[in-house]
């Protein structure tokens, strides 16, 4: 194997030949470098995009600090190189290496990849290839690293099943250390790799795809998914942490500019709103909040450790954080005058949101962002994001009145049952908002309409619905482009081809693995980058394997269809999602579940954990023995 010293020597000759070489050398403040030989287990944490995108990833930051806190473990990082560096690595025979110690990734024990979204899949393959690790899990031997993945996209692991030894379903804080323990036990034995996989499959929240078989119906839908032996669970339930652990505060401070140069702190995980299109809102239940004091102290500590000038308070719906006003007050009292910008994303469309951003000094420098997602009340009821148009008009006018000059409104086209009238309504609404703004502040008023295209996601009430065809998307986008122009108006959209790719992969089955592999062989990588995305590589990959892309995108699923992710459970029951889907067709909304529990399935699934963690930390009701039974009965009814 190639030594770190040799890798460094080769690197010195290539680094000045590529753009932004600071991406490839590590050495950042707060980097942790341990003595390789003094540590039993070596974990590489990798993000399948370039350093600039991967470094700020909060998930990897959490694991980096958590694993390095163990004396018997070291965790180092890797990202994929940009094309210029990739060419140099291949030409000079430099395998992909970790930034800390410059060990080749193939020399690590465990390689963990973050898979937050589908457009990283080809990069993940490229990363394995650059690391000189067999791309197919079935070709790895006892001496290769255990290759695992986790993240939101892993809730449908099937399209990537062939490339990973195991997936973590859900939150990794508790299960990652268990995987390490399991690995250590196996490594000390002389047992074959399959023994490790079997042991991993017994961990709660770990899915080992090679231990399951899938059969298909003649129409291409799934006939059955079953474990190959009795000691492998039929369904893999997601893992979650009962209480959010203390947040990382020693963030890596990059030596070169990256996409987010900031401290990111989760104030809350999960969401009670139940927007039907929202993948994150369904798979991250239940809501768990971090106390105000813990957030404020962690921010102070992070500022001292990093010197960053920006703070992001992250959650799926900031306005729903119970003590949001106290948090904003606490944060602004502590950090005013310290040249720190604080961002609070995901605000609800209500005047309180304006008070909140006003409370955070300096926030007015950017635009004010709101996400109505749809422009008619009918459509907003279908997606379960009910707000009246009047309220939206009132709030946006107030935003202009209170000093903001730019409002960003996010919408989606392609919601179920959407017509061209609903799309026209997006244009009309945007024009009305801008016109009202111009009455208030004249020509200084700007409106930015960001209109993406809806992609149905697994584990959501919309997992059954078809995705718009390219023709439908183009017709809708043309209508918007024609209408959303003129002074002060900016319109941005997602390319229909990007949408298709996301749609194929989101609800794909195991057969998609061949397509992904072929697309990568055809040159697909950096699919998330507009200028790098190679659609023809994907089209020919589908053709090569005799699969019809429309089967994955434009087909309405049977209500009782066995999904490719049927054996993966988010805790939210399929029957609950089916009911929610039916309600959406009737235009019936489901209120915020903080008011009342609708028995989505989380409580009975995680009743034991809830019982051990009573109180306000969770936004689900308390469970007693009796209550669990009641909830179960309710769900069976």
């Amino acid at each position: 194997m190639i030594s770190p010293i040799e890798i460094e020597a080769r690197l010195e000759r290539v680094l000045l030949r590529v753009q932004k070489p600071g991406r490839y050398v590590g050495g950042e403040l707060n980097q942790i470098v341990k003595d390789w030989d003094a540590v039993e287990t070596h974990v590489a944490l990798a993000f399948p995009d370039i350093y600039d995108i991967g470094l700020p990833n909060l998930g990897l930051a959490i694991f980096y600090h958590m694993l390095n806190a163990r004396r018997d473990v070291l965790a180092e990082r890797a990202y994929v190189p940009w094309s210029d560096m990739e060419a140099q690595l291949r030409e000079q025979h430099i395998p992909l290496y970790s930034l800390e110690s410059k060990h080749a990734l193939v020399d690590f024990d465990i390689l963990g990849l973050s898979l937050p979204y589908e457009s990283l899949y080809t990069n993940a393959l490229n990363l394995l290839d650059l690391a000189e690790i067999p791309i197919f899990a079935s070709e790895r031997s006892r001496n290769h690293p255990l290759v695992i993945a986790g993240g939101h996209a892993a809730f449908n692991p099937e399209p990537m099943h062939a490339f990973f030894d195991a997936f973590v379903i859900g939150e990794g804080e508790d299960v990652f250390p268990e995987i390490v323990d399991c690995y250590q036990t196996w490594k000390r034995s002389a047992a074959p790799r399959t023994d490790l996989l079997r042991a991993l499959a017994r961990l709660h929240g770990v899915y080992v795809p090679s231990l399951y078989s899938v059969s298909y119906q003649p129409d291409g839908t799934i006939a059955s998914i079953s474990p190959n032996s009795a000691d492998v669970p039929k369904t893999v339930e997601k893992r979650l942490v009962a209480k959010l652990p203390p947040p990382p505060t020693r963030f890596l401070v990059p030596n070169v500019d990256v996409v987010h140069n900031r401290i990111a702190i989760e104030i809350m995980r999960g969401c009670t709103r139940g927007c039907r299109f929202c993948h994150a809102g369904m798979i991250t239940r239940p809501v768990r909040e971090r106390p105000v004091a813990e957030v404020v102290d962690a921010l102070e500590e992070s500022l001292n450790h990093t010197g960053f000038e920006e703070i992001a308070l992250l959650s799926l719906s900031s306005s729903d954080y119970t003590n949001i006003m106290d948090l904003v007050k606490g944060v602004s009292e502590r950090f005013t005058g310290k040249h720190v910008t604080i961002s609070l994303p995901s605000l609800r469309i209500e005047s309180l949101s304006i008070d909140l951003l006003e409370g955070l000094k300096g926030a007015r420098q950017g635009g004010f962002t709101l996400a109505p997602e749809a422009a008619t009340e009918r459509m907003r009821n279908i997606i379960n994001k009910p707000i009246s148009t009047q309220a939206l008009m009132d709030v946006t006018r107030a935003i202009y009145e209170r000093g903001w000059t730019t409002i960003k409104l996010y919408f989606m086209i392609g919601h179920p049952s959407e017509t061209l009238e609903d799309v026209q309504a997006i244009a009309d609404l945007c024009k009305a908002v801008l016109a009202a703004g111009r009455k208030v502040i004249g020509n200084r008023a700007n409106l930015h309409a960001g209109v993406s295209t809806f992609v149905p996601k697994p584990h959501t009430p919309f997992q059954w619905v078809p995705c718009d065809s390219v023709e439908q998307i183009q017709a809708k986008q043309q209508l918007l482009r024609r209408n959303l122009n003129g002074p002060g108006m900016k319109y941005s959209w997602t390319s229909p081809q990007d949408t298709l790719l996301e749609a194929w992969l989101s609800r794909g089955d195991r057969r998609m693995a061949d397509v992904i592999y072929s697309a990568w062989r055809n040159g697909a990588k950096f699919d998330a980058w507009q200028d790098q995305f190679r659609f023809p590589a994907w089209e020919s990959a589908f053709a090569e394997h005799g699969l019809d892309p429309a089967f994955y995108t434009h087909r309405e699923r049977f209500i009782d269809e066995i999904f490719p992710w049927e054996h993966i459970s988010s805790g939210v029951k399929k029957s609950f999602m089916a009911q929610d889907y039916r309600w959406s067709l009737e235009g019936k909304t489901r209120p915020d579940c903080r008011q009342q529990c609708y028995a989505c399935g989380i409580l009975p699934t995680f009743a034991a954990i809830r019982r051990q963690n009573p109180g306000e930390g969770w936004k689900c009701p308390e469970v007693s023995q009796g209550r669990v039974r009641a909830v179960n009965l309710l769900q069976e009814a």
């Binding site: 010195e12 000759r13 680094l15 000045l16 030949r17 070489p21 600071g22 490839y24 050398v25 590590g26 050495g27 950042e28 403040l29 980097q31 401070v253 030596n255 070169v256 500019d257 140069n261 500022l303 001292n304 450790h305 990093t306 010197g307 960053f308 000038e309 040249h339």
Partner: protein
């Protein structure tokens, strides 16, 4: 208000960090040290920091300088004590000294810089010596850099062969002009001598103030 001049080394991974990013690193280091960095007035306040002279990407340095302005009176010793633990790997303080508030700006004071270049691949020493002599003897050296034609010769104030390093690698000493309007580049000199600048390790070891 207080103005202090810091002399520091820039090595390790920071060799691959550009000047603009180094500026940001200084700002963050001073914030971590909880020193009362002065900011410019206006809508987008900027920290008051001025570097002496940009160090091209890929070079290490043992002679970088930066002037910082602080809101509160701070002695050089206090600054050093607070700052050294807050610096990232690759930055190290060498000296801190007070500077008159109204003294000319650092970039205006720097006139030239000294470099040592280590050629990583074996070279014919006699040929190298010959090329150095020829370069120094030339009256004019027209070169093209980023689409601009210029005469490199007056920017080369000194160029000589040093004894090889402990691994036997050839070394050159250079003194190049670093005036605001006329700055010599080590990679240009190396190219003019017929060597690939990417196969050379260069360290700046002295800034000369006028």
């Amino acid at each position: 208000m207080q103005r202090l001049r810091i002399t520091y080394t820039k090595t390790a991974a920071l060799r691959y960090t550009s000047n603009l990013d180094i500026h940001r690193i200084w700002e963050r280091s001073l914030r971590r040290a909880r020193l009362s960095l002065a900011y410019s007035l206006g809508f987008h306040p900027q920290p008051k920091l001025i570097q002496a002279c940009p160090l091209p990407l890929g070079l290490t340095s043992h002679a970088e300088m930066i002037d910082v302005w602080l809101e509160t009176e701070t002695t050089p010793a206090e600054l050093s004590a607070a700052l050294q633990p807050a610096l990232p790997p690759g930055l190290e303080l060498q000296a801190v000294e007070p500077v008159e508030l109204l003294a000319p700006s650092l970039p205006k004071q720097v006139t030239s810089a000294d470099y040592i270049a280590t050629l990583l691949d074996p070279v014919d020493e006699a040929l190298l010596a010959e090329r150095v002599t020829a370069l120094l003897a030339a009256a004019e050296l027209r070169r093209e850099y980023r689409g601009k034609n210029y005469d490199m010769r007056p920017l080369v104030e000194g160029l000589s062969l040093l004894p090889p390093d402990e691994q036997g690698r050839a070394r050159l000493a250079m003194r190049l002009a670093t005036r605001e309007s006329a700055t010599g580049r080590t990679d240009e000199v190396l190219s003019a001598l017929g060597y690939d600048p990417y196969d050379v390790r260069v360290d700046r070891f002295k800034l000369i103030l006028g």
